[in-house]
């Protein structure tokens, strides 16, 4: 480790850094964890003048094994179901104290879609100046891969296993961004960890808005999804390129932008990389039926959000087929 004990304080160093990161390396996330990467990207884009309220979940557990912490930002974890309410209290406190510090609440899909949904709805409805970020890995991963209302249809989890009588989860993934947008908040968006510059752009956009904002980031979980940890980004990108996870922006409830897909991929390209969908590739009529079902869901998303882009374009810098690699930290 470099010696930093000379005349420069840590605080000065932190502010002098060209790239600020609120989440340090050395935490205990699994290899290929999409959530860890997305959380780091969020803190990089948000900068140092932010207070975070973190719901219970993997992110809280793998970053703060007492007496260690990976956070270089003021951070508080209270409970599973109250991060948006805690954030609302922080915002009210900062307002009463005349501070301009921003507040971000974060949680997984369990806390955002399910157990903390009420406190999220309350925070949005009351118009708090808070950004809620949902890291969506589509199941209760912290407790060992149980289905949530975000788990995709037909995915196998420990509480929606596939078997002789079942083809994984019987229900649809909850359309959280539409529900959030129905609060008519200024800005709600989805993004994917496969598109770092898209995450950065949307975090900065959300934080520039006065009022409640929402960012839903799709983050693969190699352990829960059953894919190689080295393929997390590839898997996340395929979710977008198939149309299964539409990347969109909604302003005051109305569609304001979407990431175009220039070459739409079949859903099987995405599904076949993951153990949670393995049962869909059995030579059975019911498996073929579920594959058709999932393809229909992707087609529906592409149509509803008008995701089909023009032909491949080498100058494209925004599309789902274009990934920026390296450099451009502050793109």
């Amino acid at each position: 480790m470099e010696d930093t004990t000379d005349n420069t304080s840590h605080r000065e160093l932190r502010h002098a850094q060209q790239r600020f990161s609120g989440l340090e390396a050395g935490h205990r996330a699994c290899q290929g964890c999409g959530e860890a990467l997305a959380a780091r990207l969020v803190t990089e884009a948000a900068g140092p003048d932010v207070i975070y309220a973190n719901a219970t979940g993997c992110l809280e557990v793998f970053t703060t094994a007492w007496p260690e912490s990976s956070w270089r930002v003021p951070w508080l974890h209270s409970l599973f179901e109250n991060a948006p309410a805690v954030a609302a209290g922080m915002e009210a406190a900062l307002k009463s104290r005349g501070k301009s510090t921003r507040v971000i609440s974060m949680g997984g899909d369990g806390s955002t879609f399910d157990i903390g949904f009420q406190s999220l709805s309350g925070m949005l409805e009351r118009g708090h100046n808070v950004l809620h970020v949902c890291f969506d890995n589509e199941a209760y991963m912290n407790t060992g891969i149980q289905r949530s209302s975000s788990t995709p249809h037909a995915a196998s989890t420990t509480t929606s296993p596939s078997g002789k009588m079942r083809m994984g989860k019987r229900h649809l993934k909850k359309d959280i961004v539409s529900i959030v947008a129905a609060h008519h908040i200024p800005y709600a968006a989805t993004s994917s960890v496969a598109y770092p510059s898209d995450i950065r752009k949307k975090v900065r956009r959300a934080l520039a808005i006065d009022g409640p904002t929402f960012l839903h980031i799709h983050t693969p979980c190699p352990l829960g999804w059953g894919h190689d940890g080295a393929l997390s980004i590839e898997v996340a990108r395929l979710a977008v390129q198939t149309g299964l996870f539409p990347v969109i922006e909604l302003e005051r409830g109305r569609l304001a932008g979407s990431m175009p897909i220039r070459t739409v991929r079949p859903v099987t390209d995405y599904l076949k990389l993951q153990g949670r969908f393995r049962h869909l590739f059995a030579d059975e009529a019911r498996a073929r039926e579920e594959l058709e079902h999932l393809q229909a869901l992707a087609d529906h998303n592409i149509e509803v959000y008008d995701l089909r882009g023009m032909q491949p374009d080498s100058r494209d810098s925004e599309g789902a087929d274009t990934v920026r690699r390296g450099g451009l930290r502050w793109a």
């Binding site: 207070i51 703060t64 956070w71 003021p74 109250n82 309410a85 406190a93 009463s96």
Partner: protein
């Protein structure tokens, strides 16, 4: 200054004098008037404060948790189902050692549904790690609320001020409300050293392994026990400011030579004081009013019981399958006492059943007839019971 005020109105004015920066609450009877009055003070510009009208008690407690962590003085109030709904957050606030003050307008817990007073709600969260102070009168509720902020901010422990629903919250009486200067001199602006601050980022609420968990819990236990000193010192200090005597851990009233004592908490104490005047034929009785239930002042109780042969613990809550809650704790505390009095434990006034003055002679009769009553419900009406199955 003297005002004729409803208990809730007086509490709202008192909270405002403490200059909270964030208030969050969800309406529930009989807490509603407190928050309504505070909302009006804010609307009229008499109190500058962020009022967050949340969608549940769970969020009310969570909002004030976040507010204190971000460095603001905060307040909430609830009752009954609301206390139970926020109970997970109450444990969390205490474990995070966040100095917060809340009022519990005591009410029964469903089922059966009852909006009326008993103390089952605050008793249900007695192990949450909060300081719990029970008020016998509305004047005490006013004085205790001001003290609660000082105690909380000195000890970094949250304080629940327990006020009997309706009996106190909805009763109009003449009360002394202190001046703003008096409160300002007593209560300096809130400065939370462990607060969340971007220029000095800390992590609060981390995952603690078995290596440290026991120590964290013990540290909390020790802090609560040590808080007895802060409660005593704060009562004395506020007494000097307001010119009224303040009971700290326990109020003791009655002749030193009395052999009979009654210990209670909350507004029943006032009923017993009046009854003792009226039923002068009853044996001399020492009245003990427990103000601090957490921390539990075992030493003070033993000291107050010196010379007694019989002590009745009269309480407004029930642990089904066990009996009285306070009674069991008092019995345990006295078990270490030389020449301890016999302890008789009664529950009365559940779900708003009136506790009339004649409860006093009935207590004396019941104790005279029996020899050490482990537990009984004194105002039970057996003819209303269903046939035993």
């Amino acid at each position: 200054m003297q005002y004729a005020l409803e208990g809730s109105q007086a509490l709202a004015r008192t909270v405002a004098l403490c200059r909270p920066q964030v208030i969050a609450a969800y309406p529930i009877t009989p807490q509603t008037h407190i928050v309504e009055n505070l909302s009006k003070l804010i609307a009229d510009g008499a109190l500058e404060c962020e009022l967050v009208s949340v969608e549940s008690e769970f969020s009310a407690a969570s909002v004030v948790l976040g507010a204190v962590a971000a460095g603001a003085r905060a307040y909430t109030a609830s009752s009954s189902q609301g206390i139970l709904l926020m109970s997970e957050v109450l444990y969390n606030i205490a474990g995070l050692r966040l100095p917060l003050v809340m009022t519990c307008a005591n009410r029964a817990v469903s089922a059966p549904l009852s909006i009326w007073n008993d103390q089952q709600d605050s008793m249900a969260v007695r192990d949450a790690g909060w300081i719990q102070l029970y008020c016998a009168t509305n004047q005490e509720a006013v004085d205790t609320t001001i003290q609660a902020y000082q105690i909380a901010e000195q000890t970094e422990l949250p304080v629940m001020v327990c006020v009997d629903g309706f009996t106190l919250t909805h009763t109009l009486e003449v009360l002394d409300i202190p001046d703003q200067e008096q409160v300002d001199r007593f209560l300096p602006p809130f400065n939370f050293e462990r607060g969340l601050d971007p220029s000095n980022p800390i992590s609060i609420g981390t995952l603690v392994s078995p290596d440290y968990f026991t120590e964290a819990r013990y540290d909390h236990h020790r802090a609560l026990n040590n808080a007895q000193q802060a409660i005593v010192a704060t009562a004395a200090a506020w007494g000097t400011v307001c010119g009224r005597h303040q009971d700290a851990l326990l109020g003791v009233d009655g002749p030193q030579e009395a052999r009979f004592g009654i210990l209670t908490l909350g507004s029943i104490a006032g009923t017993l004081l009046d009854a003792r005047e009226q039923y002068q034929g009853s044996p001399a009785t020492r009245l003990l009013t427990l103000r601090a239930f957490r921390p539990f002042p075992a030493d003070a109780i033993r000291e107050a019981c010196g010379g007694l042969t019989d002590l009745v613990v009269l309480e407004r809550a029930l642990s089904p399958g066990s009996g009285g809650i306070v009674g069991n704790e008092v019995r345990a505390a006295l078990s270490e006492m030389h020449d301890a009095p016999r302890v008789h434990n009664f529950t009365v006034g559940l779900g708003g059943r009136d506790v009339p003055l004649d409860i006093y002679p009935r207590i004396h009769e019941a104790v005279r007839a029996g020899s050490g009553i482990p537990f009984d419900i004194l105002d039970l009406e057996p003819h209303k019971l269903p046939a035993a199955g």
